[in-house]
Symmetry: D2
Subunit: 138 residues, 4 copies
């Protein structure tokens, strides 16, 4: 964690009431925590835009395992980039479809490139990359 | 404006330093203002998702004015919905292309529908709807 | 416009039926037009990410004109960057609030920087930058 | 899979050349596959907006495991909603931080609500919900 600062923030009372209602709906019990989450989200958004930033990311893929050679291709691609892929989770969605989540670590640019390659593979029906933080300093 | 509340927020010193650097880069001279903007942005994001919310929006369209009847079609469509279209701005981008910005007002669902229709018109090459606030209570 | 190519696309019949229903709901009367719009949207998304790309953009601002000196500040800021600001549109939303839309042109990085400065100005309550195309080649 | 339809699409030659370059950069070897991915992405985007749609989703959380009782709270919350949580993956990022990915299944509205609760928990530093498809019909 590290040292805590206490700062004062001036907010129009109306706006504050609306914010309190919003964070209550989302399940926050603590207003400072909501502010910190907003800040971290802005910082991570900025980090993710710079290709050289170290990031952690998750890539969600949904694919049809009946597509010929697909599982092999996805495995090959992943092994090509094994230093950037920390781990994967697999769920059998239905008789045809698999969901796979990869946890990636590396520079934002490299991570995006690996994700693009996997998403472009024939048989992968949908996917999204979520860039998050390595945790450091947040 | 209305009455101002002063609240205290506890933030890890590291996180606060990073936030201060971020908002400095963006040109903020006042930390409270940055917090208020984050809050308003969350609130407007939530409002925009509910089709019944009253919103103001801007629709940006880029189109090729050489496409036969396009200008007429866009004008007709806009007149069909004139109570929701406050005003428009037109810029001649180059010999072929026009940019048009419409300011819309109404329920979020209705505004989205009008935007979809205009964006789907043949000859409209790109466009985006930006939902913002009516100003009230923010 | 330029020369037209006709290409063949293979799509699962189920997926095609769902796509046809989607574009019908959005008001398309022509499937090729819907495909072209999807393509252009991807291309513009990629362009917008590179700071050196020439772009056109619209910036939507909502502000409270009662805030002291705000109109002057916004005007000053805009004049500082007048070569990048093609035009603006102003709407009086209610007794307190103004909506202003700026049409910007320049490199994506420069345009974002101008937008950040304007959005960070005290009294500007909400805003969004929409990056679109200069029209060229799309 | 199911039956395949072959359709013709008319595209300006310039636009097509740019699209081909884009999908080549992303690693596609097949233009139809790129079109199908664009279509599926639009359809899933629409599905995700309707709270009643059945979806699969992944929730990425980064948290500080030193925060008192956090692991217990996250586990309790997850068990409260166990029918919607198919599986989770855990990665130890550094001495302080954990990354956890949850695979969720259910109606979009319910899934969002669970995600909001987990994201709002004190000690969870960042997170994102990615809504994807159950696979059915895509």
């Amino acid at each position: 964690m590290g040292r805590l600062s206490r700062i004062g923030v001036a907010i129009d009372s109306d706006l504050l009431r609306k914010f309190d209602a919003l964070i209550h709906r989302r399940g926050y019990t603590n207003r400072s925590e909501a502010f910190r989450d907003l800040i971290r989200s802005e910082l991570i958004g900025e980090t993710a835009q710079s290709p050289e930033s170290p990031v952690v990311a998750t890539l969600t893929l949904v694919y049809d395992h009946h597509v010929r050679m697909l599982a092999d291709k996805l495995t090959d691609l992943q092994h090509e980039h094994y230093p950037n892929i920390l781990s994967t989770l697999h769920v059998h969605l239905d008789p045809d479809h698999c969901l796979e989540v990869l946890v990636l670590k590396g520079k934002a640019g490299a991570v995006r490139k690996i994700a693009d390659r996997l998403l472009a593979t024939k048989g992968v029906k949908h996917g999204r990359l979520t860039i998050t933080t390595t945790g450091e300093g947040l």
